[in-house]
């Protein structure tokens, strides 16, 4: 059976603790950055930069960290997604933490 990567990647999360928000059969993005973070992660895994499950492990870990955090920050699924994506990108050597920080500082100016 021919299965698209995008389909199998998202379907693999269904029923698990890291399933993305969705309504009426479609994904829900509250803003463009959430959509961008989602699309970048899927594209990088599809293109073989890392295994989808490697990213998911980091996502599940980020969600766990948030659950244990005592600071009471409100829940944002895609914030955890972004944290997991940054960690995965660094781990597989696509970018260094310094490059990401520098780029972020640049954007803040």
């Amino acid at each position: 059976m021919l299965t698209r990567f995008e389909q199998s990647a998202v379907t693999s999360m269904m029923g698990a603790g890291d399933h993305p928000p969705r309504a009426n059969g479609t994904l829900c993005f509250a803003s463009d950055w959430e959509r961008a973070a989602f699309g970048v992660a899927l594209a990088l895994a599809r293109d073989g930069h890392f295994e989808w499950d490697e990213f998911r492990e980091k996502l599940i870990a980020a969600i766990g960290d948030w659950e244990r955090a005592p600071d009471g920050s409100s829940w944002s699924y895609y914030e955890q997604w972004l944290t997991a994506l940054e960690a995965t990108v660094v781990q597989c050597g696509l970018a260094t933490p310094e490059e990401l920080s520098a780029r972020l500082a640049l954007a803040a100016d």
């Binding site: 950055w33 699309g39 970018a95 954007a107």
Partner: protein, 209 residues
């Protein structure tokens, strides 16, 4: 990268900046392009999703002969629509071969479940709701479908038979709900807007407006 921002709008702005920084860095390195995100999302937003199922159901409502063909040979009927560019190409491909439509009406209400796995006709229904993979939903729906449907707000009269279809890797079922009353003269586009994924799973019915 791990600062906690307590003001919601600061947090939101910070996240937006992090996502932008990551994406632009990867574009600059030539790992992705500025079209990558849109290309990935297109799969979910325009190619594969519940809007396809809604178009198929609307065609079946508008054209009884098509409805018969859809129930008798679902892949052929889907291929027919794809051939007229009314559905994206690929719908009638390897995935479409496994799809089977069942029609509500004439004393029958159909309900689709999956007791073995997460088999779900994604190209026509989109992403499954959280309860679809819940073991309690699956086993209860198989055992006492009327009670489960009532919890969804759907009271199926005793005179109407409830048929359960268990999706599998071989066959992925979807329901053609009954055309609602008061929709005479509506275009297929207007009709498609009345079709929800829940109705195509059989846990809801379609209503006019």
């Amino acid at each position: 990268m791990t600062d906690r921002f307590h003001h919601p709008s600061d947090r939101e702005a910070r996240s937006a900046a992090r996502a932008k920084a990551l994406e632009s860095l990867l574009i600059e390195k030539g790992i992705i392009t500025d079209r990558t995100v849109d290309t990935v999302l297109k799969v979910f937003e325009t190619k594969m999703g519940p809007f396809n199922g809604a178009k198929i159901v609307a065609r079946a409502w508008a054209d009884p002969a098509f409805k018969r063909r859809l129930v008798e040979d679902t892949p052929a009927a889907i291929a027919e629509m794809a051939g007229m560019n009314d559905l994206p190409a690929g719908m009638a491909g390897a995935e479409g071969e496994h799809m089977r439509a069942v029609a509500n009406g004439e004393g029958v209400h159909n309900l689709v479940i999956c007791t073995l796995c997460s088999c779900y006709p994604w190209p026509v229904l989109g992403l499954p709701p959280y309860w679809y993979k819940d073991p309690t939903f699956r086993s209860r729906a198989a055992r006492e479908p009327r009670a489960v449907l009532k919890e969804f707000g759907l009271d199926v009269p005793e005179t109407v038979e409830v048929r359960i279809w268990d999706s599998s890797a071989q066959i992925r079922w979807f329901v053609v709900p009954e055309r609602p009353a008061g929709t005479d003269g509506m275009s297929e586009t207007e009709l498609a807007a009345l079709v929800t994924p829940e109705a195509m799973m059989g846990v809801a019915v379609s209503k006019a407006g």
